[in-house]
């Protein structure tokens, strides 16, 4: 864990599902999943990505690069094109122009193959499978990594059993990792809001991603839950997964990310370390649209802006 973050004295008061993932769970998971080399070599890149809807230019020539083991924050006012950018990265939209590459290879056009290639995401408005249990949601995430022949599935042959056992085992570990071990048989729609967000993360991790895209992971969460989510994202990074986070909560982003990108009206306005971005007057003006002194004071005081939809 990052030494700069609040120590164990605060986490001890938290309910079990909000505490940082237990170390033994992280250890076994890291063994199951691939672990980053720590080279910071670019893994996910976009060059000159533009997206035009009718007359609206939602994204204009966005070029960025995510290094292995890096956490990047993507901020910007509502309607800046953040979610559109995620949709371009995951194949839900195919960009009007420009290219997205994963480990130097062009990103497949089909979302299913993007997932197979190692990019997973969560959604701004939670999109779990509501009538399936928490466990089943994670098992669906495992789909792309499972091998079951149709005949073996019908006859419950040895190959079928092996793949089911492996998937259940991994799903249990992932649920424990996000702090939902106790709720594995609960229907997703019956889980509290914060737990649904964590379940979405577990489901995304089940696809064995090398890149995880989180769309407003703390929207609607209280301070405790937000802190737990920060710890969770650090733990995910420690598993070897590179992370891109969209958030409105600037304090959250500045204390979480290695680098921050500011998107305004579809353009990449500023890119840099949290300190650089925080101090940049253009950002403060474009993003918050208020007199700089006042807003800067707010940011340093740790005020947060409300999450909304874009």
């Amino acid at each position: 864990m990052d030494p700069d973050q609040p120590g164990p004295d605060t986490t001890e008061e938290l309910p079990p599902e909000l505490q940082a993932p237990p170390e033994e769970v992280v250890a076994v998971l890291a063994e199951d999943m691939h672990v980053a080399t720590g080279t910071r070599e670019p893994i996910l890149e976009s060059s000159g990505v533009s997206m035009v809807f009718g007359g609206l230019r939602a994204l204009n020539e966005v070029t960025f690069s995510l290094g292995e083991g890096e956490i990047i924050g993507l901020i910007g006012p509502n309607g800046a094109g953040k979610t559109t950018f995620f949709n371009c990265l995951t194949g839900l939209y195919s960009p009007t122009s420009g290219q997205v590459t994963l480990r130097g290879k062009p990103m497949p056009k089909d979302p299913a193959r993007v997932t197979a290639a190692g990019v997973a995401r969560t959604f701004q408005n939670i999109r779990l499978f509501p009538s399936m249990t928490a466990m089943e949601n994670v098992l669906v995430g495992r789909h792309v990594r499972m091998k079951q022949g149709p005949v073996s599935s019908l006859l419950h042959g040895p190959r079928f059993r092996r793949s089911e056992d492996e998937a259940h085992d991994r799903a249990e570990k992932l649920l424990a990792f996000v702090g939902l071990g106790r709720f594995s048989d609960e229907l997703a729609r019956n889980l509290p809001y914060g737990d649904q967000r964590r379940l979405e993360i577990a489901r995304a991790l089940a696809t064995d991603p090398s890149v995880l895209l989180l769309d407003e992971p703390t929207a609607g969460m209280n301070a405790q839950e937000t802190e737990a989510t920060r710890q969770l994202i650090f733990a995910i990074r420690d598993l070897g997964v590179s992370v891109v986070v969209i958030e409105h909560d600037t304090k959250f982003i500045f204390t979480l990310c290695d680098r921050v990108l500011v998107l305004v009206q579809g353009e990449l306005l500023v890119e840099g370390s949290p300190d650089e971005v925080r101090g940049d007057p253009r950002v403060v003006e474009a993003y918050l649209g208020a007199p700089p002194e006042e807003v800067e004071a707010q940011i340093h005081a740790g005020a947060t802006t409300e999450g909304g939809t874009d």
Binding site: A112, R127, F129, M132, L139
Partner: protein
């Protein structure tokens, strides 16, 4: 008295499990793409003709004379013919309309239904009238020794047992396997399913294929039990099966089976005991449907709310 009642129960269970097999196809297709596939009854009919064709034109007498060879082969042929027709129907009639308004595939389904009936009438030798269908199982009737004895044909017992086994197997498949979970995920949120690496087209084809296989098996069993088939059999039984699926809660596998059994029992018992006799047995089925839907519009097992977070 008692034996009349019990033998009507037996009749009802036979008819009910047949309807349940067909209803599973309706309910699964609806669950995945919210389409009432009105041509599903014709898939059932085509399976019966396919099975009969293999019996009449394909298999040597060494096989047709021994039920333990003939029955499994004819069941498989019937299932394969139905799978083929169901998958082709999805590919060429429904897939191009996947994003069209809901009414377009529904009307197409009615058209496909008529086309299939006419195709069989034109191309199957002698299909302009009812065709005799051999009993493919052990001949004869078992008398269950209760009261004056309750008769049930061996083929009827086979129909009940096979239907329940298949329905149980299907439920396990959908609940516990990778593709089964993919089917449920696709029915709940197709876009997100795609992001989990699931290919929705493959899931939809699989759904039509499973529904087709069950309908084809039902077609062969129907012919074997009633000993003749005609091109209208799909329409009549398709309506019953659709009603069963709605009664049980459309989209729900267990509901389709229970719905089918209820309809079979209502038809048999209503024909025996209610005024009007068998002339009115269809009426009682729809009376039950109306009563159930007034008090439980979502059917026995249907979900009251579909939450989409």
């Amino acid at each position: 008295m008692l034996s009349t009642f019990l033998s009507q129960i037996a009749n009802g269970l036979v008819l009910g499990s047949l309807i349940a097999l067909i209803a599973l196809g309706y309910t699964m297709v609806y669950g995945i793409i919210t389409l009432i596939n009105f041509a599903h009854g014709e898939i059932f009919m085509v399976g019966a003709y396919g099975g009969l064709a293999s019996m009449t034109y394909l298999l040597p007498t060494v096989i047709t004379q021994r039920w333990y060879f003939a029955l499994p082969i004819v069941l498989v042929v019937g299932a394969l013919v139905s799978i083929l027709v169901a998958v082709a129907m999805e590919r060429f009639a429904y897939r191009p309309l996947r994003n069209a308004p809901r009414l377009a595939p529904l009307i197409t389904a009615l058209g496909v239904s008529v086309a299939l009936q006419e195709a069989v009438r034109v191309f199957y030798p002698g299909a302009t009238a009812a065709i005799p269908f051999p009993d493919l199982f052990i001949q004869g009737t078992l008398i269950i020794p209760i009261g004056d004895g309750v008769p049930i044909r061996y083929t009827g017992i086979l129909l009940i047992v096979l239907s329940l086994v298949l329905a149980f197997g299907l439920e396990r498949f959908v609940e516990r396997t990778r593709m089964g979970r993919a089917m449920r995920a696709t029915s709940q949120d197709r876009d997100v399913a795609r992001l989990m690496g699931i290919n929705p087209d493959r899931v939809i084809v699989l759904t039509f294929a499973i529904g087709g296989a069950l309908a084809g098996i039902a077609g062969v069993l129907y012919g074997s039990y009633l000993n003749n088939i005609n091109i209208d059999m799909g329409f009549q039984n398709g309506i019953f099966a659709f009603t069963a699926a709605v009664l049980g809660g459309i989209g729900n596998i267990r509901g389709a089976v229970i719905g089918g059994l209820v309809i079979g029992l209502v038809k048999a018992l209503g024909g025996q005991y209610l005024p009007g006799g068998t002339a009115y047995d269809y009426v009682w089925i729809f009376v039950v449907l109306i009563i159930v839907l007034v008090f439980r519009p979502q059917g026995f097992f249907g979900e009251t709310e579909r939450v989409r977070a």
